[in-house]
């Protein structure tokens, strides 16, 4: 860790604040409990943030939640649409994370192989 890296933190956090403003079409929730972290959830989240930024997608909000109780399926990512539809992806690695951004968030197409289920209006 050095100071130059840390200085980028403010810039990146600023991006994230900007990303959060206004009504968004999608809300992406990454599960970040102990098991999620151990499985690589933090890297999945940063990959998605970078990819969203790279593609200039502005209709997405990225959030984080605690343990959701499916430890063997971590890292898990839930995509919530403004209409109420939810898609949950399990065992997401960085490649799948990029795919979720490029397919689901950009084009509205679900990434079939990694989705584990859908539930309407369910938290």
């Amino acid at each position: 860790m050095n100071l130059d890296q840390l200085k980028k933190l403010k810039e990146k956090a600023q991006q994230q604040v900007t990303l959060r403003e206004g009504g968004k079409k999608y809300r992406v929730v990454v599960s970040m409990g102990t098991s999620g972290i151990a499985a690589g959830a933090r890297e999945v989240m940063t990959t998605m943030l970078d990819e969203i930024d790279k593609r200039g997608i502005d209709s997405v909000e990225v959030a984080v939640t605690g343990e959701i109780g499916m430890v063997d399926a971590e890292p898990m990512v839930r995509v919530e649409e403004a209409g109420g539809e939810q898609t949950t992806y399990a065992k997401v690695d960085q490649a799948v994370a990029k795919k979720i951004v490029s397919e689901h968030l950009e084009k509205g197409k679900k990434v079939e192989g990694s989705a584990v289920g859908r539930a309407k209006g369910q938290e």
Partner: protein, 160 residues
Amino acid sequence: MFEELSLHVLDIAMNSLAAGAKRVEIAVVESQRHDFLILRVRDNGCGMDAATLARVLDQRTTSKKSRKKNIGLGLAMLRQTCEMCGGHFHVRSAPGQGTSVTASMRLGHVDRPPLGDLNSTILALCAANENVDVQLKYRTDKEAFQFSSQELHQQEGIKS
């Protein structure tokens, strides 16, 4: 076990958020001169009573036994890392008083995990709850760095 100390920081600070903290102060002090590394996560959440505190520090408390998943595992893992690396581990907490977790280790210890990507840890915490002030203080023998997520929000407010 986590490969990076910054993942431990994230794990512990997520507990702070679960405890309803409005402010999470993360301090990282690295001293080559004195050969130590200190991590501290302090929050103003609901805190724990003595019985809960004893339980979370007990490594034998597995997620299977406890009703609330995962209680015990995160802190126990960090404690193990500290003790393995010639350091100390301390948790101070009381109901309504918040919680303070302090972990120290020898900076030059061969088993000490790298600090890792502290930025991503802070970003994840900011994403977890925008109303919580996530603060970072990082210090070495020569330099220092400070960050506060609420300050960022205020700056944003002035701009718009």
